[in-house]
Amino acid sequence: MYSIPFEHGLILAASLFALGLIGVLTRRNVVFVLMSLEIMLNACGLAFVVVSARWQHADGQIMFLMILTLAAAEVAVGLGLIIQMFRRFKTVDLNVLSQMKG
């Protein structure tokens, strides 16, 4: 039996979320942007698990499972979009998508 200050787990989750946000905002490579989105989703799941450990419930872990499912579906669709984008524009630069053409 041991105890961890659960505030520190939440601080870790918040820091990972902010780092993922920095990645989304700075990167121009679309694959890195999707990876940063994964970091942010993972940080949300971490917060759920930490809070469920605080009250010794299983509910937070079930929410983590739902986030896991969401991340899997989102990555599948996102990578399909990346493949389609690379086929059309021959680049992974996000800025080429700013034109409304074709």
């Binding site: 121009r28 983590f64 899997a72």
Partner: protein, 160 residues
């Protein structure tokens, strides 16, 4: 266990920062896998071994392999390194870091003051499974439909 938690948290933060600064996309992906695995260790120290296993199998295993397949399919080659260098000039970091820093300070302000210790009791597969197929069975069904929709969407989008 407490030392394990702080070590894993430090590795998670450092490897996530390394993802942000990485020019080579495959190296960034491997740092991300390291970060996810250390988050799995954090789950384990918080008494959630089932979530830790799923994090290692689904996130670090399946999803990251999907990324790797797509990176291999794209076949970006050597020119991507110069591209990345030109995209990530020094000044580009400033505004996002400031904005995310403000958001982080706000989040920490909300979190602060809830400094009870969490007494860790292991909530294992049995409890999670009982909840998952008891009160949350509708969520399981909806999640399966979501996965089916993701499958069909990915197939449709990646088709020539």
């Amino acid at each position: 266990m407490i030392v394990l938690f702080y070590l894993a948290a430090a590795i998670a933060l450092i490897s996530t920062i390394a993802v942000l600064f990485q020019r080579n996309i495959v190296h960034g992906l491997i740092y991300l896998i390291l970060s996810l695995l250390s988050v799995a260790v954090v789950f384990y120290t918080f008494g959630a071994p089932f979530a830790a296993m799923l994090e290692a199998i689904v996130y670090a295993g399946a999803i990251m392999v999907l990324f790797l397949f797509v990176i291999m399919m794209l076949n970006l080659g050597l020119r991507s390194r110069e591209q990345e260098n030109s995209w990530l000039s020094n000044g580009i970091w400033i505004a996002p870091v400031i904005m995310s820093g403000i958001l982080l300070i706000q989040l920490l302000n909300v979190i602060r003051g809830q400094s009870q210790d969490a007494v860790i009791v292991e909530v294992g597969v049995r409890e999670v499974g009982l909840m998952l197929f008891g009160p949350y069975v509708l969520a399981v069904e909806i999640a399966s439909i979501l996965l089916l929709a993701g499958l069909i969407g990915a197939y449709h989008l990646a088709k020539k």
